[in-house]
Each structure stands twice: as C-alpha cells, then as structure tokens.
Point group: C2
Chain length 206, copies 2
DNA sequence: CGAAGAAATGAATCGTGATTCAGTCCTTTC
DNA sequence: GAAAGGACTGAATCACGATTCATTTCTTCG
C-alpha cells in the first residue's frame, strides 16, 4: 500500500494552511476584504490558485476563517483590558485607548472587522464579533452603573455609539484632515467618556 | 435638413434622464449602491439597458450623480437646521435629531452616503459630502465655543465622533437588538451632546 | 527503482454584470 | 409620404475573478 501521508507531509500542509490564512489576513489588513482575491492570496502564500481549494472549500470560507481569527484576537485583548484592576471608568478608558491603539496600528483591519460590507456568509461571523465586543463594553458600563459611577442608561445603544464614534474619528474618511493621531485619540476617548456621564445641560429642549 | 430635435423631444429626454436618476436613487435607498445594476435601473425607468448610456457615460458617473444629488439635499437640510434660532446647543441638538430622523427614514440611503464603500470614482463625491456635512457641525460647535456654551475642543475630531456615534447607533448592525428607535435616537443624541461638554471626571488617569 | 496515489499546478471554464453596436423605430422637415 | 438622422433596443461582447480539472510533480514504500 504505497504512499500514505506522513507527519512530515502533514506538517507541510499545516504550514500551507497557516500561510494562506496569514497572508489572507495581511491582505485584509492592508486593503480590506474587498481587495482580496484568491489569486492574490495564493501568490502571497507562494502557492498556485488551485491549491487554495485544497485547504478551503471557497473564498467565503477562507475569509470567514480569517475574520473569525482576527475577531477572536481583538475580543480577547478587549476582555483582558476589561478584567484589569481599577474603577469601571478607569477600565473603560483603558479599553477605549487599547481599542484605538490597535485600530490605528492595524490599518484597515479594524474597519474591515467593524464595518466593511462583505459576503453575507461572513456577516454571521461579524454579528458574533459585534455581540462579543459590545457585550464587553456593555458589561463595563453596567459595572459602572452598579457601582454608582455612571448613571443608568441604555447600554447597548451607548456601546454602539462608542464603537461608532471611535471608528469614525480614527478610521473614517474624516480622519484625514485631523491633527496628529495621539491628539485625535485623546479627543475621541474623552468625548466617549463624557458621553457616559449625565453632567451638562441635557434637557435644553430645542 | 430633416430632423432636428425639438423642444418636445428634448423634454422627453429630460424626462428619461430624470427617471433614470430617480429610479437609481430609489434603488440605492432600498439596497445601497452595491445592489444597483445598469439593467435594474433601466428596467425601473422603463428603458433598455443600452439607453442608459445615452444619458450617462458610465455606471460610475450615474452613481456619482445620484450621490451628489442625495448628498446635496441632506446637506441643505442640515444647513437649514443650523441656521435656525436658538443657542448653539439647541441648534446642535435639533440638527442631530433631524439627522437621525432622516437617517432612519431613508433606509439604506444614509448608510450608502456615509459609509458604503463604492467605486473610487465616487469617493471623491463622498469626501466633499463629508466635508460639507462635518463643516456644518463644526461651525455649530465653534459657535458654541465662541458663545462660551461649550469648552474649546478639536472640532473636526469631535464632529467625526458625532457622525460616527449616530451612524453606528442608528444604522449599524448593532442597531438591531435595541429598544425602539425613538429611545435609541434620544439615547444617542444625549450621548453626543454630553460628549461636547467638559463635565464629568475626564482625567481620571487610568 | 517503480508503482500507487496524493498534492500541486495553472490554464480553461463559468458566472456576472458593464459596455458596445448593428439593427429598428421615431421625429422632423420638405 | 418619404428622406434624413437621431433615439432606442437588447443581444453580443468584454472584463474580471471564482472555481474546476486534466496534467504534472512529489512522496511513500515494497
């Protein structure tokens, strides 16, 4: 019975799969999901286009896996921040800075995960990601409320506001003609933190 | 010298062009730019696909025109709000409610204008739109600062935060599992207004 | 080494939708 | 009514990228 894949062969295959995911993620981070083609991933991974299909049944599944891995990493980082020491406010602030720092560092990856419209097959992953992400923020805000640091509020909506505000300020097209990035981050995070408090003339009915 | 287009013919042509833009916009509002095909626009306007090209040199230019018209309308509405009576804070609040109301009413149009990635040829229009939009918000905020109602701040970044917060809260995928829309609007607008004030423990360094 | 498969290759195929264009229909003018 | 063009049509063409698959190359093992 000649030829049965051995450990060495399987190791090479594992490496191929890893390289494909790695390069696909690199492309996503550089240009977003939309700019990724099977051919470009294959070339970056130094394989032929057809070979990609030995490892992933379709482009959608490859991208879904990329999404899942990247998202899991982000959520984990955020969760770690959330579990740190300090008041809820301090942890929220730390989490938002971390979010900002990673978003800026990751190029388009953050945008791709949060906002880029993609294959419906991937939207499912995105929903899970957002739920997880938002849940962490919501959890922190709820802790703050429970501790009396923050006033009661619709945490889901507020969490969405925060993600949107930071995303737009740091990643959106408006982020161009802005001061330097550090200043923008500080401004945006302060904006969000203030938004969680009840101070200020809220009910000037207009 | 037989046949020279007359007023009647030209009127029919103007009507064709108008219908094409109208139907294209309807499709964009319903499903976003991505879902618009030349064939679908032509069918909706009751013309043959080829005829579209007698009125617009390419799909990109048709969509750019659609974008421009829709954006101009939005900016005008916002500008009107901004020119109303009242304190800067009141006008900001009114403008944000107007923004929210229109965004919710327009279906995907607001998302298409603000966020949907499209042909690079259209990004140019979007940039002008955002500039105009953001400029109005910035103007209001700056008035508020001049009047002593608001503390000095990086208005460009803050304006971006507001657009992002409202957009995410009202249009984003997170907007699903939320309370009813009125509540979400109120929560998001309050969040943004508070963000403009300096109250609250901003510098709890964490 | 040589047979038996497995893995990899990349050119060909397919599907989708924008764009073109030869043919047809309409308007205008005499 | 008929000639002269313009406007309209929609099937054919093109472009682009995902997917397939016949062929080639590589591995394993007797």
């Amino acid at each position: 019975m000649p030829y049965r894949p051995t450990a060495r062969t399987q190791a090479r295959q594992a490496d191929n799969a890893r390289r494909l995911l790695e390069q696909a993620q690199r492309l996503v981070a550089a240009q977003g999901f939309g700019a990724v083609s099977i051919a470009s991933v294959a070339e970056a991974a130094e394989l032929a286009t057809g070979t990609v299909y030995r490892y992933f049944p379709s482009k959608a599944e490859l991208l879904a896996k990329v999404f899942e891995r990247a998202a899991a990493r982000e959520v984990e980082v955020m969760a770690t921040q959330a579990a740190a020491e300090g008041t809820a406010t301090q942890r929220i602030r730390a989490a938002l800075y971390e979010f900002s720092a990673r978003a800026l560092r990751s190029g388009r990856l953050a945008w791709a995960l949060l906002a880029e419209p993609i294959d419906p097959a991937i939207e499912h992953e995105r929903l899970r990601f957002r739920r997880a992400y938002s849940a962490i923020l919501q959890g922190l805000i709820e802790e703050g409320i429970a501790a009396g640091e923050l006033p009661p509020q619709a945490t889901a909506t507020v969490a969405a506001c925060i993600v949107g505000a930071l995303g737009q300020a740091l990643l959106g097209p408006l982020a161009d003609d802005t001061e330097d990035q550090d200043t923008a981050v500080r401004t945006a995070v302060d904006f969000c933190i203030r938004g969680l408090y009840r101070e200020g003339p809220i009910h000037a009915d207009a």
